[in-house]
Symmetry: C2
């Protein structure tokens, strides 16, 4: 049985998210992400994903409090961040810090507790890396703010409601997406019954690649390259003619517009108007129209999240780490599910190499 | 298309190693590992695996020199190792150190160069972690020793020829084994075009699990539990009756004895005799006979490597890290192969969760 890249091969069963690639729908535990974005919060969405139900009032309170309590990070971790040369990229520093988290804490084998810690601390770590790299003082987490508000606050020292709302929406929409490469890799690590931190580290290692988490960076680089609306058509047509990929477009699963892109687009336009970045948005809409007309390919989640980050003046090096923050709780959910009904993930390779041959002694080579 | 754990599903093509599960044969680039163990070295086997041919004399000299030159590790890495609390397990420290390696060096995008660095430095790191944890002074790598000799030397401060030979054999036999879970996970990470260090870190995260790298630890624990030859039959029969797994036995691919186990057995007996550990070996042989007779299940690679480590008085916490050292160059080979003809690895999940349902407001839950 062959499959290039395991396309369309079922690797595991999952109760977490459902993608309808034809209709362009994404459900978490049966609930449309559109509803979650409009009616729920990131914290509640995580609860839903992990526990399979919407929380009662006291359940949500307890859960939110736990997430909040675990936000601070150990001084040794902060020291480690400060000791890393600034030239290293934010994502490389981040992926080196995550595996150190359990080393400075008493061993805790409960994977849900470990998951809460990771999800709580990851924005603190990302913000600390950013501020240290940029010679700014580290801002401690604020216990009275929501998850998304607190992240923007730790990054910038302040936040506007529209920014926090944009980031919260972005987090909810990145939370889970079935077996993308990073989630699948995390489950493969978990399938040897390796610990949760190891599985999550694998997720980060995998998301880091340009074919996975790198697209939103490339979207902004492309728009900067295009410069203005008038040059858009020529630029894109040339790229398509050269059979180059347009970043932020197409998806192995969606055959229509990625529902996440549609939601993010509506926030992107609002933010762009408020921050005088309308020309960025206009270029993007033009590209979208050209791609639809010429190739029937639609924007994916990375396309308008790039615009949101850019208009919030978020450093381009933070785009992948922000994706990591959003996806972290999704990886945890999948790893918990893998542990729950585990089967080692071990496919085969088709051997295409030499037939059996003799070992030739050195003097006969 | 469904497969539990992707059993027997082809995920990629590979030229690296070929397993004949029926005949119990393992080839690297077409050459039987038996030949490599008897006629080659670990360094030459790595060259063979990476470049697809046995090296000429000057090629091997240059390659060995490169591997040798890269053995020392940065002072900052040593400081990090010293700063980690001793209670952390050796493998947890190891997996946290590997991602930090590129942070203190100039960026080098050539994956082969990165691979040489990783393969060269990993024994230095493992030995340093062991010695720091045990309050012993760190021993610097020795440039005139072979890869295997130098590892035993850095661990113990001295080495005997039979020990270096045993470890070299163990390394050659662990070098590659097609798509085991860690190699497959490393290739999945690489398939997003993430960097080599990230892919290798994923390999370590995955190998760490008890269903993958943990078996040799469990073999020794079982033998300590059995205590003496006379109690073996009762112990194993009871375990089998309770449908418990016997560590070090069985393999998803081999239907006969794992050829690696057969080779390691011949070294294990020699070492056990020399070090007055014959009763350990006798217990193991007895278990092997019972398992063959009662279950037709044969020892795998972990079974007699455990004996080798034990008779060399190697700390049980080092068993998985030694597996990591052996497999490291195999992961590198697979990642290079993945980069060479890349296709994103992204299977699907079968959704088994809730049908679409409404978001219920808080006061109606």
């Amino acid at each position: 049985m062959n499959s290039s890249g395991l396309k369309d091969i079922i690797a595991v069963n999952s109760n977490l998210s459902f993608i309808d690639g034809e209709l362009g729908k994404l459900l978490y535990r049966g609930i449309d992400v559109k509803d979650l974005v409009h009616k729920s919060t990131f914290e509640e969405s995580i609860y839903l994903l992990w526990y399979g139900k919407l929380p009662k009032k006291d359940e949500l309170q307890t859960f939110t409090l736990e997430l909040c309590k675990e936000r601070p990070i150990h001084n040794k971790i902060l020291d480690n961040i400060k000791n890393i040369p600034c030239e290293a990229s934010t994502i490389s520093i981040l992926k080196s810090i995550i595996p150190t988290l359990p080393l400075f804490e008493p061993v805790n084998d409960d994977p849900i507790k470990q998951g809460v810690k990771l999800v709580s601390k990851i924005p603190t770590i990302v913000a600390a890396i950013y501020r240290v790299k940029n010679k700014k003082e580290i801002i401690q987490p604020h216990k009275d703010l929501s998850y998304a508000e607190n992240f923007v606050y730790m990054l910038k020292g302040k936040y506007e409601d529209i920014e926090a709302k944009a980031i919260e929406t972005d987090f909810i929409l990145h939370l889970d997406h079935e077996l993308n490469a990073s989630t699948f890799a995390a489950r493969t690590t978990a399938s040897t019954l390796s610990d949760l931190n190891s599985a999550i580290s694998t997720g980060v290692n995998t998301l880091k690649g340009p074919l996975h988490g790198g697209a939103s960076e490339d979207v902004i680089k492309m728009i900067m390259d295009i410069e203005c609306e008038e040059k858009t058509e020529e630029y894109i047509t040339k790229k398509l003619h050269e059979r180059q990929k347009i970043p932020g477009f197409g998806h192995r699963v969606y055959k229509t517009i990625d529902p996440r892109a549609a939601i993010l687009k509506s926030i992107a336009i609002e933010l762009c108007e408020k921050t005088n970045n309308k020309q960025i948005f206009n270029i993007q809409e033009k590209i979208e129209a050209i791609m639809k007309q010429q190739k029937r390919i639609y924007p994916n989640v990375d396309y308008y999240s790039a615009t949101i980050y850019y208009s919030m003046k978020i450093d381009i090096e933070l785009y992948i780490p922000i994706f990591v923050i959003g996806r972290m709780a999704g990886w945890v959910g999948h790893v918990l599910e893998q542990y729950d009904n585990n089967k080692l993930i071990r496919p085969r390779a088709r051997y295409t190499g030499f037939k059996e041959r003799k070992y030739t002694p050195m003097n006969q080579r």
